[in-house]
């Protein structure tokens, strides 16, 4: 058993992935953290009190976890959903009635989305009350606020995709609100969002692209910076 283990850890393949030895000394332990993509965001040192669960409540981690759930279930939903006026509603019905575990996927995506909005908001609240926005973390607070806006926008853009009455009128109301932006900008914003003057095929495709590509990718980039900063500032 030990022989096999030793043989594996000494093999060329293993050593090409893990370039340091087993974390037996302080040096190799530090190397393990520095060379590992997932571990390298960790801070060099952590204060004991910030490890306390009731200090963070794990809200940031929960938000990130829900984001992963959403990406995974969303990718699966994309396999069945087509953003066209003719097919969108029918595809949703197919997910409900025909696709194996399709309804489960939809529900998971939906509930995870609701939960993420709540978690991100609670996370913000926690950061505010623990005063974690104070220097030197003020920039990270700003990124966090932008991430919150992205979360809400993701939630909103996803609202149109089922292409039912609720979606249609939800988006009609929303874009009409955008229309009331002053200095003549409102009409332009609304036109830009809908790709026209009415909620139609163009609006559906735009919201689909925003929901499945633009916003998630932007959120992921910002989340990377957010996490990096948190770790470098000594958080978890």
């Amino acid at each position: 058993m030990r022989e096999t283990f030793r043989a594996i850890t000494r093999s060329q393949a293993w050593r090409s992935v893990f370039r340091h030895g087993l974390p037996l000394s302080n040096r190799t332990r530090a190397e393990a953290v520095f060379y590992n993509f997932f571990l390298h965001v960790h801070p060099a040192k952590v204060r004991r009190r910030s490890l306390k669960f009731t200090y963070t409540w794990g809200l940031g981690g929960l938000s990130a976890g829900l984001f992963i759930v959403l990406v995974a279930s969303g990718a699966l939903l994309m396999l069945y959903y087509r953003p066209s006026v003719q097919q969108a509603y029918g595809d949703m019905k197919d997910l409900q009635f025909v696709v194996s575990s399709g309804q489960f996927l939809r529900n998971m995506h939906r509930w995870a989305a609701h939960a993420m909005v709540a978690m991100v908001f609670l996370h913000m609240l926690r950061v505010f009350y623990t005063g974690s926005y104070r220097p030197p973390k003020e920039f990270n607070w700003v990124i966090g606020v932008v991430l919150f806006v992205f979360t809400v926008l993701l939630s909103y853009t996803g609202y149109l995709l089922p292409w039912d009455q609720l979606a249609y009128w939800g988006i009609s109301v929303g874009t009409n609100m955008a229309r009331s932006v002053p200095f003549g900008l409102g009409e332009r914003i609304s036109f830009l969002l809908l790709g026209g003057n009415i909620v139609g095929e163009n609006a559906l495709v735009r919201f689909y692209v925003l929901h499945c590509f633009v916003l998630p990718v932007a959120a992921m980039v910002l989340m990377g910076i957010h996490f990096w900063r948190v770790r470098k500032d000594g958080g978890v």
Binding site: F53, Q86, G90, K93, D94, Q96, F97, V98, S100, S101, F104, D164, Q165
Partner: protein, 647 residues
């Protein structure tokens, strides 16, 4: 650290369970049970029926943009061996359409995409068109079938007929329905008395159970005011004035009056007024009740109306009888003495309320009387009721069920609305038509068909085109004066109470038609709607028959029937032995009662008609019950020769 680990472990297990539920639910889908049930059912059948592979099945109808998965469980739809099986496996009843061609939900409604019973029936949130109950299924025929008589859809046809007759289009927007002829109210003040009018306005059906006039549930005060308003209209159209009554009617001696009434009774019978008018509920159905007419209309009006109906009511389908002045007075005297309502109160002197005109006018408008009745100086009310042209697609949340407590579905709403319009709220203006339950259902069916769905043009069976036939000249004047089109159809125009006359001269001999105008005996004396004697002059009869001889014929009916006795002898054999015609028809008072007697056929019918009738009866009169025996030409010739030899 310990409690945290325990929590983590519990949550992890919980998540695993949640994850396992979904595949399990997937595995236990409802339709799988039905499919395995089907396979074990067909395995036990004596016939060979192929079992199905387990999996979702669907009908994709591209032209209607529908996917129907009903056939996932309704597996025996096209399998005749399962005609007695229980649902969901039973064979679909025979209809004209194929399930592969139109799918399921185009006719049945419901949610075709669903694979669960509850969802597919569609009585669920967020599905606006649930499955049509069986009694209302014919509604879907109306989506494509715009023709007059939809084959195999008796309920829909009845509903459409009732919508036309009840003149729903008078108040509601309803495509494809035209306003019916309803008497304008010109001169009503010269026609009826106030006592009758008030009672009529309050409960029309109490006076004439067969009337189409609905009950507006007016209060005594409303009925009185409306009556006063209406009675102020005393002028007739085109400035017609009532002729004075002749002396015979104004001041007859007793003996003279008895004679007059007796003459009138005879003429009333000869004219066969009851072919169209019911008298105390018995008689025809196309004209108003006459049982108590003398208590309704004034004598002078009645005299003038019978004399020249269209002078007082242009457009009315009442013939002008050619009575002599004495006969006319007799008929009026007879009606005045016979058709009296002895229960009615004597008309009392009455002074109308000073503001009666304005108040009455407001009531006339409020109840949209102008939707049906014309009144001089009042515009015809245009569609004061709700638009019904897409009522079949009305959403449940748009309906106010009030405190009716009925089942909350669109069909039940429509049916209840038709039966008792006022249960949904006191302020409803729709009157009570007094429909029977089956009639209300039929109308609801015809209305539910107005879905406003976009139908592919190649599926639409267009409305039967309206005939533009309008006879001209002397014949045209007579047709109008005698209201022939009130009972007969000519080249597609008219109301079919009696016969279609479009080929009359090709069917009947000239001498017979001429004689028939003089003495219109009936071929089937049991019928109520018999031809009246209009007392036409010889000149008028000649005009009518001359026109028929040139217009109501067809070259295709020409045929010479052999007149030799051998053919007739063969025909006799065919009549009695081969085809057993005597089981329905009589010759010499022997035979059945189903068809008309054939004794004097040769006097009535042309040889060509007899020949073609024998060859293909339905070709000449669609829907006749005379069987088509597929006779050869020689057989038809022989049989016709035999029938023509009976003189």
């Amino acid at each position: 650290m310990k409690p945290l680990r325990a929590t983590f472990a519990i949550v992890a297990v919980l998540f695993l369970v949640v994850l396992a539920v979904s595949p399990l639910k997937d595995y236990l889908r409802e339709w799988k049970k039905y499919q395995t049930g089907y396979n074990s059912l067909v395995a036990g059948l004596p016939q060979r029926v192929k079992p199905v592979d387990i999996g979702i099945r669907q009908v994709w109808v591209q032209k209607l943009d529908r996917v129907d998965r009903c056939v996932t469980c309704h597996l025996g739809v096209k399998e005749p061996a399962l005609h007695a099986a229980l649902e969901p496996y039973r064979t679909h009843p025979r209809i004209y359409h194929d399930v592969d061609d139109l799918g399921c939900t185009f006719c049945h409604e419901g949610q075709g995409a669903a694979t669960e019973y509850r969802e597919s029936v569609g009585n669920v949130k967020y599905w606006d068109r649930p499955i049509l109950p069986r009694a209302y299924l014919e509604a879907s025929c109306a989506k494509c079938h715009r023709e007059n008589d939809v084959p195999g859809a008796p309920v829909l046809n009845l509903g459409r007929k009732l919508i036309r007759e009840s003149n729903c289009a008078g108040c509601h927007r309803l495509e494809a329905y035209q306003k019916q002829w309803i008497p304008a109210l010109d001169g009503i003040g010269e026609k009826v008395n106030r006592t009758w009018l008030v009672a009529w306005l309050k409960h029309p059906k109490a006076y004439a159970p067969s009337t189409k006039m609905p009950d507006f549930l007016l209060s005594d005060e409303e009925a009185g005011t409306l009556a006063d308003f209406l009675l102020s209209f005393r002028t007739f159209p085109r400035e017609a004035v009532l002729d004075p009554l002749p002396a015979a009617l104004t001041s007859p001696g007793d003996a003279q009056k008895a004679k007059l009434v007796e003459l009138g009774a005879t003429k009333f019978r000869e004219a066969r007024c009851i072919s169209c008018h019911p008298i105390n509920g018995k008689g025809g159905y196309v004209a108003p009740e006459l049982g108590k007419i003398a208590s309704k209309v004034g004598e002078q009006w009645l005299y003038n109306y019978v004399k020249q109906p269209k002078r007082l009511q242009p457009g009315v389908l009442m013939p002008r009888y050619r009575f002599s002045p004495e006969e006319l007075a007799g008929v009026v005297a007879y009606m005045e003495s016979e058709f009296v309502d002895y229960d009615m109160e004597k008309p009392a002197p009455h002074t109308p309320d000073p503001g009666f005109y304005e108040k009455g006018r407001a009531l006339f408008k409020k109840y949209s009387c102008g939707g049906c009745h014309g009144l001089p100086g009042m515009a015809r009310a245009e569609e004061t009721g709700p638009d019904l042209s897409a009522i079949g697609a009305k959403k449940l949340y748009e309906i106010d069920f009030g405190r009716s407590g009925i089942e909350q579905t669109l069909p039940s709403y429509l049916k209840t609305k038709l039966l008792t319009p006022h249960v949904f709220g006191e302020s409803m203006k729709m009157p009570q038509f007094g429909f029977r339950e089956d009639e209300a259902e039929a109308i609801a069916v015809a209305l539910l068909g107005n879905t406003g769905d976009r139908i592919p043009p190649d599926l639409i069976v267009p409305a039967t085109p309206q005939s533009a036939f309008a006879p001209q000249g002397e014949f045209g004047k007579l047709v109008d004066d005698l209201a022939c089109l009130g009972c007969h159809v000519m080249n597609g125009r008219g109301r079919l109470v009696a016969t279609d006359l479009s080929l009359e001269a090709g069917q009947a001999r000239r001498t017979w038609i001429e004689g028939y105008f003089k003495i219109p005996y009936s071929l089937r004396p049991v019928l109520t709607e018999r031809m009246p004697n209009l007392f036409l002059s010889d000149g008028e009869i000649k005009t009518l028959v001359d026109y028929m001889e040139t217009s109501f014929i067809a070259d295709t009916l020409e045929h010479a029937v052999p007149s030799d006795p051998t053919a007739a002898a063969i025909g006799r054999g065919l009549y009695y032995e081969r085809y057993g015609c005597q089981s329905c028809h009589q010759i010499g008072a022997k035979g059945g009662y189903v068809g008309p007697p054939l004794d004097k056929l040769a006097v009535r019918l042309t040889p060509g008609w007899i020949f073609h009738w024998l060859k293909n009866p339905q070709g000449l009169k669609p829907g006749t019950i005379e069987p088509n025996n597929n006779l050869s030409d020689a057989e038809a010739d022989a049989l016709a020769a035999f029938l023509l030899s009976l003189k």
